[in-house]
């Protein structure tokens, strides 16, 4: 049996975990001179809560059968997942220097065959939740207590396949499936709320039969409480947490840039961003 969640034995605060994730993501961005750094900084708190509060896993054995599965449907968020995989000890920290390089285990868009701990190949958007349904069905068939977490973006709310999976998860009463939606309201051409994400998202999911929560994804206390509620509810079906996040969170001069889906960072700004982050380091 598992010894308990990874967080149980650690004295490191979630705030510091999130900060470390942001720092590692910035270091990787600096290596390439580009990257989806806005998303990484925005989702860092959710990832910290995922890997250091919610998920069961064994860092030394990323394919351990008893692990909770964490699917990154949004392949371009790989920079953020690499950061948390390093923080969790699943990837060696020094590998950040290879991010996006030829022959690296850490390609710009996440692929399962390249990286330990990367469960699926994301990137073609709208795939993760359907695969999560199949995995959750499979875990139930095996009578496994593990959860499947699927991290998707608000832009993926526009993909029809997402809603096929939303309905299916209810049909099969997948109470072992927790969907995490990063709602930063930035997709490639603008705001999802100006496109297909019209109306109240949590109510949509609820209407389909999901246990739905919508919280501030940069408020760690709220994020942790939402994970606990999602895991512990007696709702006889799937659960979703919609996280409102701020792109580039933690680096104020980047936060204020208007169009931040693929944030442009000048060569000299990486050091500046790291310095800004350094000032906000938690105790």
């Amino acid at each position: 049996m598992p010894a308990g969640r990874a967080s149980a034995a650690s004295n490191v605060s979630l705030e510091l975990r999130a900060w470390n994730i942001r720092r590692k993501a910035l270091l990787m961005g600096e290596v390439q001179g580009q990257g989806y750094i806005g998303q990484a900084l925005g989702i860092a708190d959710v990832l910290a809560a995922s890997y250091f509060h919610a998920l069961e896993y064994r860092a030394e054995d990323p394919e351990w059968e008893g692990r909770d599965r964490f699917l990154l449907s949004i392949g371009h968020y790989a920079i953020a997942l690499y950061a948390v995989l390093m923080e969790a000890g699943i990837l060696p920290e020094e590998e950040y220097e290879t991010y996006g390089m030829d022959d690296s285990r850490m390609p710009m868009s996440g692929m399962a065959s390249y990286t330990p701990g990367m469960e699926i190949t994301g990137g073609s958007l709208g795939h993760g939740l359907g695969v999560a349904v199949g995995m959750a069905l499979g875990l139930k068939r095996k009578q496994s207590p593990a959860f499947v977490y699927n991290l998707m973006s608000d832009g993926e709310l526009g993909e029809g396949s997402t809603w096929e999976a939303v309905m299916s998860a209810v049909q099969w009463k997948l109470d072992n499936l927790i969907c995490l939606v990063d709602f930063n309201n930035q997709q490639a051409d603008g705001k999802p709320t100006d496109a297909l994400a019209q109306g109240e998202e949590a109510k949509k999911w609820e209407a389909f039969g999901w246990h739905a929560q919508r919280v501030d994804g940069n408020d760690l206390e709220a994020v942790v409480a939402a994970f606990d509620a999602a895991r512990e509810t007696d709702h006889p079906g799937p659960r979703v947490i919609i996280f409102d996040t701020t792109m580039c969170k933690g680096v104020d001069f980047l936060e204020s840039r208007e169009i931040t889906h693929f944030v442009r960072v000048e060569p000299d700004e990486w050091a500046k961003a790291l310095a800004v982050l350094e000032k906000g380091k938690p105790l």
Binding site: M111, A112, S113, E119, I120, T121, G123, S124, G126, H127, L129, G130, V131, A132, V133, G134, M135, A136, L137, G138, L139, R141, K142, G160, S161, E164, A165, M167, S168, Q171, W172
Partner: protein, 347 residues
């Protein structure tokens, strides 16, 4: 508004009458392929899968509201707790099958060939093929096996899946192939796309070659002959064998090389047969002449400097008409009469 580029078929047409003087009805969706003179087997896929699933407890079945029309209902009835009805959602069908495979299961996912090849392609490509997951995609209504028109006629599915790395692609001829292939694709550790004949399926190959057994990845000579080599797949092997019997009456000896596995192609056997001198080489397939067996054989021959007189029998590069299957097979060159006529015209 009708744009100049849009083709319209509005003008009244005279309805054709059959031999009994009555109009020929469009074959119902459940109609079986016309195969005069052959015994049939009911739902060979469904029964073979049940038998295999009794040995392999990892096999699960999934369908997108077409279990009954892909013979998977036999499995669903026999093993209800191992069947997942995924609803009318093909993208989900393929993604969920991928998820089950990731968890160690051996999923058989069924739908119609058009829906797998067209609608769910990205999900088959990225969730299944890119990861080389052992999902077995088995699809009814391949090529011209329905009179419903292009919405249901998968005339380009082989072309689509041939371009996808890691895929094993099968076009079975008959019930013998289907029953033989189920255990072999179940044991295959990678993704498979197989076309399916469903309902009452003729048993053809063992009548022509009693010791015939399907072998994954192998082409097999069913009949030998010195004048023509027909390289065929799917039910066109049945047409080729019937045509060969009648050609023999005209002292034209046609060999039939059956190629049920389209990918990986059995290049060795195809080259060995095509190198035998003095034979016209003809490919025959229930698929568009674009991107199917014919072009695969043509490129194999040319890149190996084997250049016999070569022709392709297949569906034209068109959206096909609706109508009764015998009418359509005659119209598009897949009937025995038309196969014979085409071969004679090339001799």
């Amino acid at each position: 508004m009708t744009l100049a580029s849009m083709k319209r078929k509005y003008e009244p047409r005279r309805v054709k009458l059959g031999p009994d003087g009555k109009p020929i009805a469009t074959s119902a969706m459940i109609a079986s392929l016309s195969a005069e003179g052959y015994d049939t087997v009911a739902a060979p896929f469904g029964h073979a899968l049940v038998e295999m699933a009794r040995k392999d407890e990892k096999i699960v079945g999934l369908s997108a509201d077409l279990a009954k029309y892909t013979d998977l209902h036999i499995f669903a009835r026999a093993m209800p707790d191992r069947f997942h009805q995924m609803g009318m959602a093909e993208q989900l069908l393929m993604s969920a099958a991928a998820g089950l495979a990731r968890e160690g299961f051996n999923p058989f996912a069924t739908t119609y060939a058009v829906f797998a090849a067209r609608r769910a392609y990205d999900f088959i490509a990225m969730a299944i093929a890119e990861e080389n997951l052992p999902v077995k995609i088995v699809c009814a209504l391949p090529g011209l096996t329905t009179g419903y028109g292009p919405s249901h006629q998968a005339t380009e599915d082989l072309a689509i899946f041939r371009g996808l790395p890691n895929m094993t692609i099968i076009d079975p001829c008959d019930a013998d192939d289907i029953m033989g292939m189920v255990p072999q694709i179940a044991a295959h550790d990678g993704p498979v796309y197989s076309r399916l004949l469903r309902g009452k399926v003729p048993s053809v190959l063992t009548r022509h070659k009693p010791d015939y057994k399907f072998q994954l990845g192998k082409a097999q000579v069913i009949r030998d002959g010195q004048d023509v080599l027909i390289i065929s797949t799917g039910f066109m092997t049945m047409r080729a064998l019937d045509a060969a019997e009648r050609l023999a009456a005209d002292r034209i000896e046609a060999a039939v090389l059956h190629v049920p596995t389209i990918k990986p192609l059995d290049i060795e056997t195809i080259l060995a047969e095509a190198r035998k001198e003095g034979r016209l080489v003809v490919t025959a397939e229930n698929h568009s002449v674009v991107g199917g067996l014919g072009e695969a054989v043509a490129s194999t021959l040319l890149t190996n400097r084997v250049t016999p007189s070569f022709h392709m029998i297949g569906l034209p590069d068109q959206f096909l008409e609706a109508g009764a299957l015998p009418t359509l097979h005659e119209m598009y060159g897949l009937s025995v009469d038309r196969v014979i006529e085409q071969i004679k015209s090339w001799l």
